[in-house]
């Protein structure tokens, strides 16, 4: 399912590039500037790792509490 999703995403992106050359991607091109300057230091990769860990804990708490 993941592979299918990845392949279809790539297909749509390539198709968009052929049909609308030199046009920005909708939505994504508006969102990305918000993160300008965020990843200009290596510390952000470490913070990202910690955030993944925190979300893993939140996910664990939710799944453990709701599982039978």
């Amino acid at each position: 399912m993941l592979a299918m999703g990845f392949v279809s995403t790539m297909v749509f992106l390539i198709l968009y590039g052929i049909l609308f050359p030199s046009s920005d991607l909708p939505v994504i091109s508006s969102v990305l500037p918000v993160f300008d300057g965020v990843f200009d230091s290596g510390i952000w990769f470490f913070i990202l790792g910690a955030m993944i860990g925190v979300f893993a804990i939140l996910g664990t708490m939710l799944t453990e509490a709701t599982s039978e």
Binding site: D36, G37, V38, D40, S41, G42, I43, F46, I47, G49, A50, G53, V54, A56, I57, T60, M61, E64, A65
Partner: protein, 554 residues
């Protein structure tokens, strides 16, 4: 009023409290008990019904929250270490109005680690240890559980205050002090009621935890009444007693109990435990912050300049040096208890045991370092203050955090009814936390020494070597972040689907239980030395069975 006079009043006050706790308050004992119980439960109204009063729920709640606080504490400290070599690393946060600096992050990381993590883990452990040693139950599980959330709120406020001291002209830190003390007083009253209902003589680790809890507010009250709280010396002294002394007593009780319970060995020496308790009260602990400014920030009063008299310097240095006696006594007692009658640690894989071992092992060198730096500060020499921050962090991350985490992990199955999810993950978490904190902070300290040497030589050029070492130090410290996430995941998952503690394997052949399960050879003395070991203790081989034997089929 000098250091020695203030300390004398503190000693007297502690003695009075100890006698009152033991003897009661004459005819008012019953009245005060019932009134305190009413204040802790019914007087709180509907909020008390939001929490459950199941046995062990309070300790579990405090321990889980303490473990979770490890993550922000380690992340904030990591960011502080990183910003010390790359001050612009988080400049993009300025678009949100945040301008974090290395010093403010390290201070807030220190506060979150001490109050959020160490404080909550130790208080949670005390909620199991004190009733267990007194042969009773916690006076009110409901109030203790509820207070854990008040304490967590106070740590959040403390973190905000460390980074933004004033909001709309209002000082934030005193608010955190108010919330912390509100929860602390409720916990102390709860503990006193628990101690009052004890059914047997309480061993020393239990008293250490009770006196440790009481000594924190007691020191502030004593110094406020006797007067020197607005002086530099008074603020320095209250920082020393309120923080390190109180936490050291709590930590001592927790790891002495944890070492004995986890290894299954009886406490190696009661005399050394007594030396630890009395010594901790009668001396000035060298761990923790060297300056007294933090006391003024917490109390919302003006910081006074530290200008000790000659007598204060002599008395302070003497009491600081003496503090090594209880610290060495604790370290020796814990290590000997864990090893039992041979050179190996019993149950080295048992969650919590490696942490306790590390804390007991590192307490002595870190304290000696702290003694040098504090004496240097006290005498006004200030040649070693450059390594102060690294040394304080080392005390937190290789002594207090492992000690509190180790004690909490060793009692976790008893309080929650389940083991942590994976012993293997627990071992990984230990190595990541211990390795990350130790190596990361040692490299940071090396950079501090390098900076100090260049400063002394009056070289104004940027120290690129120091900056490179700091990069290495901060990256290595990241292991602590991953380790704390591992520990939290392990505890949370374990509380849901860890193996039941009643079904779990017996920790060792010498576990404290009756009947005494024998899996390997032991001595009669060792059995008698157990808490429940009596002449009529039944000794049963662990592999005994009622099934009739039969010949081996060929």
């Amino acid at each position: 009023m000098g250091i020695i006079t203030s300390m004398s009043v503190f000693w007297l006050a502690t003695l009075v409290v100890f006698v009152l706790v033991n003897r009661g308050i004459w005819v008012f004992t019953d009245v005060s008990k019932s009134m305190s119980m009413f204040m802790l439960e019914k007087a709180l109204g509907p909020p008390i019904d939001f929490v459950e009063g199941k046995r062990g729920s309070a300790a579990t709640t405090w321990i889980i929250q303490g473990a979770l606080w490890l993550i922000p504490a380690s992340v904030i400290t990591f960011c502080g270490l990183w910003l010390s070599h790359d001050p612009e690393a988080l400049h993009s946060l300025s678009s949100w109005g945040l301008n974090p600096a290395s010093s403010s992050l390290l201070t807030s990381g220190f506060l979150v680690a001490i109050y959020g993590s160490v404080g909550m883990l130790l208080i949670g452990s005390s909620m199991h240890i004190v009733p267990e040693l007194g042969g009773t139950t916690l006076a009110t599980e409901k109030n203790a559980t509820l207070m854990s959330f008040v304490w967590t709120l106070s740590v959040i406020v403390m973190f905000i205050a460390a980074n933004k001291p004033e909001i709309v002209g209002i000082k934030i830190m005193p608010l955190a002090t108010l919330l912390t003390n509100l929860a602390l007083i409720a916990v102390i009253v709860n503990m006193l009621l628990t101690a009052a209902s004890r059914t047997k003589k309480m061993p020393l680790p239990g008293w250490m935890m009770i006196i440790g809890l009481i000594s924190a507010p007691l020191s502030v009250v004593v110094l406020a009444i006797t007067g020197p709280l607005d002086s530099g010396t008074g603020q320095w002294l209250v920082t020393r007693i309120h923080g390190p002394t109180s936490l050291f007593l709590l930590m001592s009780g927790a790891i002495l109990y944890g070492a004995s319970r986890g290894s299954g060995n009886p406490l190696w020496s009661r005399s050394l435990a007594a030396v630890t308790m009395v010594g901790a009260i009668f001396t000035i602990n060298p761990l923790g912050l060297i300056e007294g400014e933090m006391a003024s920030v917490f109390l919302g009063i003006d910081a006074a300049s530290f200008d000790p008299s000659r007598n204060d310097i002599v008395a302070g240095s003497f009491l600081l040096a003496l503090s090594l006696i209880p610290i060495i006594a604790l370290s020796a007692n814990v290590l000997a208890t864990m090893r039992g009658d041979d050179v190996f640690i019993e149950n080295p894989d048992s969650p919590g045991m490696p942490e306790i071992n590390l804390a007991a092992f590192m307490a002595v060198p870190v304290s000696i370092g702290g003694l040098f730096v504090l004496t240097d500060y006290l005498t006004g020499t200030n040649e070693l203050t450059g390594v102060h921050t690294s040394l304080v962090m080392m005390g937190v991350w290789v002594v207090f955090v492992p000690a509190s985490m180790g004690a909490a992990l060793s009692i976790f199955p008893e309080v929650s009814g389940r083991n942590v999810l994976s012993v293997n993950r627990s071992r990984w978490a230990f190595w990541l936390m211990a390795g990350g904190a130790f190596s990361g902070l040692v490299f940071t300290m090396m950079a501090d020494f390098s900076d100090m040497a260049l400063l002394e030589a009056s070289i104004e050029e940027e120290n690129s070597m120091s900056s490179r070492i700091r990069v290495l130090g901060s990256v290595l410290f990241y292991g602590t972040v991953i380790g704390s996430i591992y520990h939290s995941l392990n505890i949370i998952s374990g509380s849901f689907r860890g193996t039941l503690a009643s079904e779990g394997p017996i920790p060792s052949s010498t576990s404290i239980s009756s009947p005494y399960k024998l899996t390997k050879e032991t001595t009669v003395r060792k059995i008698l030395a157990q808490r429940e070991g009596k002449l009529d203790t039944v000794v049963v081989p662990e592999s005994s069975t009622e099934m009739p034997g039969s010949p081996t089929e060929l």
